[in-house]
């Protein structure tokens, strides 16, 4: 199967007949999880990810007394793939969560200064949980998209008498940007986006690039076992700039 995917790419086509810079069909549903303050269920082809946003109160970091906080976690549930195992998050789940975290944090997506309840003492903590339901390739782009969609869908609950009143929105979560992560893979001399599972296994190396609404790059990470040339990075950024606009339009 893997050789077949490779053979096709070498011939200039793909296993599902997409163009090299074409994503599978993308479906975004928001507000799908009742108990969460924000949520989104994103499908890219068969790949499916749910992100839930929960708002809790917490203590600010001592060096950021006037900012709310954020925490991104990912569960690669064994339900989603025979390659995932039960147990605490492995390095792939941790890396994915940290990449989503960085794309949100570096892009200043959330306006943390508006998440203060009592300066230095109590702030809102935004918990962003990424739950993988179906792994058919390109998890990071799906997770990034779902995270941003869930945040744009999220509200701050009412806070009265030192308690959160669950289910009663007091306002939207203050969001300024929609950072979009695009992962570009390299197979031989071909660059492609949104690899399916069969393609992921033959990719030499890939670069995940998070792009802000203003076209600025806010996070990058090389992934995969192989290497990249400097000229690859140039072309990959161009692809990411173009595709990020397209995906951002879907949210």
């Amino acid at each position: 199967m893997e050789n077949y995917a490779l053979e096709l790419i070498q011939k200039g086509t793909r296993i599902d007949e997409r163009k090299f810079d074409q994503y599978r069909n993308i479906e975004i549903k928001t507000g799908v999880i009742g108990p969460a303050e924000g949520s989104a269920r994103v499908r890219i082809g068969d790949t499916e990810v749910i992100v839930g946003v929960k708002m809790n109160t917490g203590t600010p970091f001592s060096d950021m007394p006037n900012d709310g906080t954020m925490m991104v976690s990912a569960e690669f549930t064994p339900l989603a793939s025979p390659d995932f195992e039960s147990g605490p998050p492995g390095e792939d789940a941790i890396e994915l969560a940290r990449l989503v975290d960085r794309s949100l944090r570096e892009s200043k997506c959330i306006d943390f200064s508006k998440l203060v309840i009592t300066p230095g003492v109590k702030v809102w903590s935004v918990y962003i949980d990424i739950h993988i339901i179906n792994h058919q390739g390109n998890l990071l782009d799906a997770a990034g998209l779902a995270a941003v969609a869930a945040l744009w869908n999220a509200y701050i609950p009412k806070y009265e008498n030192e308690k959160i009143v669950r289910g009663e929105p007091a306002g939207k979560l203050p969001i300024s940007f929609k950072p979009i992560t695009i992962t570009v893979g390299k197979v031989g001399n071909t660059l492609l986006v949104d690899p399916v599972l069969e393609e992921e296994s033959i990719i030499d190396a890939k670069m995940s690039i998070a792009i802000r609404d203003d076209g600025k790059i806010c996070a990058m990470q090389k992934q995969g076992h192989g290497t990249l040339e400097f000229s690859d990075v140039d072309k990959m950024i161009d692809i990411a700039l173009k595709k990020s606009e397209e995906l951002r339009g879907l949210i």
């Binding site: 009742g34 749910i50 976690s73 949980d129």
Partner: protein, 239 residues
């Protein structure tokens, strides 16, 4: 649980979400939601949603856990952190460990384990949204996933929750009812033979009440099983 709430949960014969005592919430069921699983299903009872996937029979590792004359079934019941109102830390806790076990015991009698010696069938249940009755919803999804996976089965397993609120018997408890019920009972049966594979009861009931509750549960399991069978029939014959 086991505590009579101050709030009234049944007003003018209607429950908090408008149902009559004997009404199950709207049920939706979908098969084949996880590509690489041998079988999978997503089941919702109102705002309670469970996804189940079945992998196997597949060889069991490490090898010293294999049994030479029988297969085994393993289950993992897990709640997504955002599935509940107060965010749950990821990872197993005492409750999910116990439920993983009772779910396994609820499903096990329905499977011909001896058909796949040295192997395991792994059943994963993820609760995506929780509004009461999560374990029974998970069992219903898991049984569908097992059938879809072509596991060697004697019968399906169908589960339902029944309870007592405001001195009234109700079926399919939602989250509010679950927390304020006088009693809460989870039952799973194999519908062809009415054999009980799961029975967990909390609260305070007389023996007569328990027996009434069980009849009520049995009756509802049969109704739910009709829907399960209809879905499977569509998959294997229709469309």
């Amino acid at each position: 649980m086991g505590k009579k709430s101050d709030v009234q949960l049944i007003v003018d014969g209607k429950r908090t979400d408008g149902r009559a005592p004997e009404d199950v919430r709207p049920i939706s069921m979908r098969l084949d939601v996880v590509s690489r699983a041998n079988g999978s299903a997503e089941v919702s009872f109102g705002k309670t949603t469970a996804v189940a996937a079945v992998y196997g029979p597949r060889t069991l590792f490490p090898r010293f856990m294999q049994e030479s004359d029988t297969g085994i079934i393993r289950t993992r019941y897990n709640m997504a952190p955002f599935s509940v109102v107060d965010r749950k830390s990821p990872g197993p806790d005492r409750r999910s460990t116990e439920i993983s076990k009772v779910v396994r015991l609820a499903l096990e009698p329905s499977i011909f384990l001896e058909d796949f010696p040295k192997a395991t069938i792994d059943v994963y249940v993820e609760i995506i949204q929780a509004d009461g009755s999560t374990r029974v919803t998970g069992i219903n999804a898991a049984s569908l996933a097992l059938v879809a996976a072509g596991a060697p089965m004697k019968d399906m397993v169908t589960a339902v929750s029944v309870g007592k609120i405001d001195d009234t018997l109700i079926v399919d408890l939602n989250g509010t009812e679950d927390q304020n019920s006088q009693s809460d009972v989870a039952v799973a049966i194999m519908p062809r033979t009415d054999r009980i594979t799961l029975l967990q009861m909390d609260g305070v009931l007389t023996k007569d009440e328990v027996m009434t509750v069980l009849s009520f549960a049995k009756e509802n399991c049969h109704k739910i099983n009709e829907q399960q069978k209809k879905l499977l029939l569509e998959k294997y014959t229709g469309e």
